[in-house]
Symmetry: C2
Subunit: 197 residues, 2 copies
DNA sequence: CGCTATAATAAATGACCATTCATTTATTTG
DNA sequence: CAAATAAATGAATGGTCATTTATTATAGCG
């Protein structure tokens, strides 16, 4: 919580947003290794020094950008989420959402991919991120209780549902796989067969 | 092919190997972004300048290391490979091999993970790497022809078999999953259910 | 041993890095 | 408008980067 004791100039939300997009763009285009604060600031159209008003340091910039994307991702995956529907329908909806998000926000996917395989990944508050996906964890548990899903740890289910959706929606990683309505349905059947009892 | 026209001092294979291991270690411990030629050379116990006798530049060092690991990986996965056995047995063997390799060579796994999500990934001769895994591609195709496996692109099969094996064997990515004989069997059943007709 | 070719290296180079500092600019309130 | 406060920045700092250069060490052969 920020308290304004007195007269003060407010931070520019447009700059904040520009920095977020610039970070994703520079990291994706030049790679994690070659991404510098200067490049990101220049891409966002601000001075490198200004960046340090919005973020404590480079690490903070990268970690914050990651958490932000994860939040966007969870929101996108949960569009139309309805607890009362059959489990298969819920997951199918999720699967479809993932592909839509993946095709329309490929840059975010790639950033997450690079970030989560870097040592920066250890710096995120993983409890916070897992909370975004809590509704799904609940559905999975319900499926296990109702003898619809195999009784395996949550991680195992995610490996056969979320990861494939991510991987398949990235043409960089899956060049030989064409995304259309039919292929989305077909690949969901694979995921579903993997986890259902 | 190298031709020795005359007297020449030979390159040191121990240094070559030390450089390979040092590259993996430094990249895993400090991350792709903070890995420098100097750090790698120091870890290998040689001068940075010497590194340039063995590799054209940093890019060549990283790409070569990646290809080398991929070769080791394919060799490890194909241990005991027997074309004449039932497809399920072949894949089960592969699955088990992946876990053994993963637990004993975690550093290689992590390097591959970091590398393949970086822009360097675009620089590898992917045909060369795919060749390592050609026997598996043939088995998969046979499975499809014999109506044992679902008729989907090879990439889709790999997403439900190889990736899960990799992900599950990495305790960093799958903290809640304990590897033992029972859990290897159980998770293979998920993979098999996904791809079998 | 001395010749030759290459491995090996220490040191240097210029570029770029993250971050800080001194200063200026913009905004709000009295 | 003027005072107050924080946003914004250009320039500087010290360090590290990838790579090259000039030099030395080493090995095999006549």
């Amino acid at each position: 919580m920020v308290i304004y004791y007195s007269v003060m100039r407010v931070k520019d939300e447009i700059k904040q947003e520009a920095l977020f997009e610039a970070t994703v763009k520079v990291v994706n285009e030049t790679g994690f290794a070659q991404s510098s604060v200067s490049k990101i600031a220049k891409e966002a159209g601000i001075s490198p020094a200004t960046l340090y008003i919005y973020y404590k340091n480079k690490e903070d910039l990268l970690v914050s950008t990651y958490v932000q994307i994860k939040q966007n991702l969870s929101t996108a995956l949960l569009v139309g989420f309805d607890d009362s529907r059959p489990i298969r329908d819920i997951l199918k909806r999720l699967w479809t959402n993932a592909f839509h998000f993946g095709t329309q926000n490929r840059a975010y996917f790639e950033f997450v991919e690079q970030f989560s395989n870097s040592p920066y990944a250890g710096l995120v508050n993983s409890a916070e991120v897992e909370e975004f996906f809590e509704p799904l964890a609940r559905v999975m548990q319900r499926g296990i209780d109702e003898k619809i899903l195999k009784d395996v740890p949550f991680e195992v289910l995610t490996v056969f549902v979320f990861y494939p959706a991510m991987l398949l929606s990235s043409p960089k990683l899956c060049a030989g796989f064409e995304i259309n309505e039919g292929s989305i349905d077909q690949t969901f059947d694979l995921a579903w067969d993997a986890i259902r009892l």
